[in-house]
């Protein structure tokens, strides 16, 4: 993973090629996402960038009817709500992302514990297009 640095920007650079990166502590073994130069568990600075599987489990979620500006620009509103959640990756750490392909018309039907796989989402239109992390059920 030498092509990516610990700078936060590189997390999104990696996403552009569908890679989810994090960091691994060479001292205590802790895995962290996004990647960081300092291990939050042992506080050491002996960390390396690793590629993660993108597989995980839904821990918490919401279906949003009053969107953020970015999501409103992506076409979401009260009639077209979207799901976001916190996902526990199989490698251990957790991360937030939009959850696609779940029944947002019935939030009660969305199950915590659902197995998910990462995907990437382009938002921002042609001029400001950026790649974001998302998940969908396996």
């Amino acid at each position: 993973m030498a092509e990516f640095s610990m700078n936060s920007k590189d997390f999104f650079t990696a996403l552009e090629t569908d890679q989810l990166i994090g960091s691994h502590c060479l001292d205590c073994g802790a895995m962290v996402v996004p990647q960081r130069g300092i291990c939050p568990r042992c506080l050491g600075s002996n960390t390396e960038i690793v590629s993660l599987s993108g597989k995980g489990t839904l821990l918490a979620f919401t279906v949003i009817y009053v969107p953020s500006l970015m999501m409103a620009q992506a076409g979401y509103d009260a009639k077209n709500p979207y799901c976001v959640g916190v996902v526990k990756l199989d490698e251990g750490p957790k991360i937030s992302g939009q959850i696609l392909d779940v029944d947002v018309s019935q939030p009660e039907s969305i199950q915590i514990g659902t197995k998910l796989i990462m995907t990437t989402i382009k938002r921002g239109g042609e001029e400001n297009e950026k790649t974001y992390l998302g998940f969908r059920p396996v």
């Binding site: 918490a60 916190v86 937030s96 992390l133």
Partner: protein, 423 residues
């Protein structure tokens, strides 16, 4: 004060509040002056020349009003220049942290008399812009890009809480109903109507316009109907969310030995704690707020008190789920028991653990920087027995404030005590 490093005690000798609401004609300094005048009127012997420093809790006047560097402006506007001024920003906990920082400055011996203010003027911006400004209190690099909004964060915590404890959604509505019933007795409240009166006025409006009148049986029925109470971020509805507000609050803090020179009815800051945390994905749990539990632990320890000693609490109910979680983080109820306690009325004014007698953020309003200071004003009134119709029974002596920034990246807990002169 077991193991406290505080060199001396700190007292609150006066409080002031502006009305909370949406005020087109007022800016931050106007609201602050209104609260400051209320403080002067509340005090027996106030001498502005004795004020040595001013600590201001303010989240983002830069974004809301295009005015940064607000603290010296406000001090000047009430004639306090050239005392040193500091603006403190810890998102929605700015006010509570300002109280704590002022107390630490007094406890250190640096100052004897410190004025604490909190203010936010939020309603000048369009609602979408307000939402964007508030989102900057979250992690804008890695959480906001997921599509989260602030109601969304707390809604996700609610989903984890409901899943873990099999909690019923009605519990959230009970928090809203209770806080509005308290706020209806608070003349400073932004939405000082009971949910029942809001429901009845919606019915009346429908009848007036010749539309079919909704057949809501009671408040829960009304709140469960998306036509009366639209979904914002499942499971948080409109009536689960605190409003966008303008308002200001002030408190005068002095060293304990000087309290009687300002007032006959001081209350004492006997415990204080503060903690921080990362964004939601960095936490072990999503069904509690670890920083709140830690801040509470520190405050209880310093005060040598336990949760059962707390006669009433003002907690940070930015969303109804936040109040339920707060009552567990602060140890009033066991983990997973807070939702049931809310349904059973245990947090009502006459319950075992009165919470948010002011109406809370939900009904009183949530002018972000003012909130934590406003909580102290309510505790002051309740401990001094001057809360009028919303006075909690039983001569309360110990009150707690719990103020959260973001989704729990900051939490500050302060505990206050009234001491009777005859011991």
């Amino acid at each position: 004060m077991s193991e406290s490093k505080w060199n001396r005690g700190v007292a609150v000798v006066g409080v002031g509040l502006s009305k909370f609401g949406a005020f087109k004609e007022k800016n931050s300094r106007d609201l602050f002056v209104e609260a400051y005048l209320d403080l002067i009127n509340s005090m027996h012997r106030y001498d502005p020349k004795k004020v040595e420093a001013f600590y201001l809790g303010n989240f983002s006047s830069d974004q809301f009003e295009k005015q940064a560097h607000l603290a010296p402006i406000l001090a000047s506007w009430v004639g306090l220049s050239p005392i040193p001024t500091v603006r403190i920003e810890d998102a929605c906990a700015s006010g509570g942290v300002a109280i704590r920082q002022a107390a630490l400055a007094i406890a250190s011996g640096q100052y004897d008399v410190v004025l604490v203010g909190g203010v936010e003027k939020m309603t000048d911006l369009e609602i979408a812009a307000v939402t964007e400004a508030l989102a900057t209190a979250a992690d804008t690099q890695f959480e906001v890009p997921a599509g989260f909004t602030f109601p969304g964060f707390y809604a996700a915590m609610a989903s984890a809480y409901m899943h873990e404890y099999n909690a019923q959604r009605d519990a959230f509505y009970h928090v809203s109903i209770k806080n509005h019933s308290n706020g209806a007795l608070n003349d400073k409240a932004q939405f000082g109507q009971t949910i029942r009166s809001i429901m009845e006025s919606k019915k009346a409006r429908a009848a007036q316009k010749g539309r079919p009148v909704p057949e809501w049986e009671d408040e829960i029925d009304f709140l469960s109907d998306p036509k009366g109470n639209p979904m914002i971020a499942w499971p948080m509805t409109l009536f689960d969310c605190s409003p966008v507000s303008d308002g200001a609050a002030v408190a005068l803090l002095v060293s304990e030995d000087l309290a009687s020179t300002f007032t006959d009815t001081p209350i004492y800051l006997v415990g204080s704690g503060q903690a921080s945390d990362g964004a939601l994905p960095e936490r072990e749990t999503l069904s509690s707020i670890p920083a709140a539990e830690e801040a509470g632990r520190q405050a209880y320890h310093m005060a040598n008190l336990s949760p059962k000693d707390i006669d009433l609490a003002e907690v940070h109910d930015c969303f109804t789920i936040a109040e339920i979680i707060a009552t567990e983080d602060l140890g009033f109820f066991e983990r997973g028991a807070g939702w049931q306690a809310a349904i059973e009325g245990k947090t009502a004014r006459k319950g075992d653990h009165p919470v948010n007698t002011s109406g809370g953020l939900k009904s009183k309003g949530h002018p972000v920087g003012a909130t934590g200071v406003g909580q102290v004003a309510e505790i002051w009134k309740q401990l001094n027995g001057i809360a009028g119709e919303r006075q909690v029974p039983g001569d309360p002596k110990i009150g707690l404030t719990h103020n959260v920034g973001g989704t729990g990246q900051t939490c500050v807990v302060n505990i206050f005590e009234r001491r009777d002169l005859n011991g």
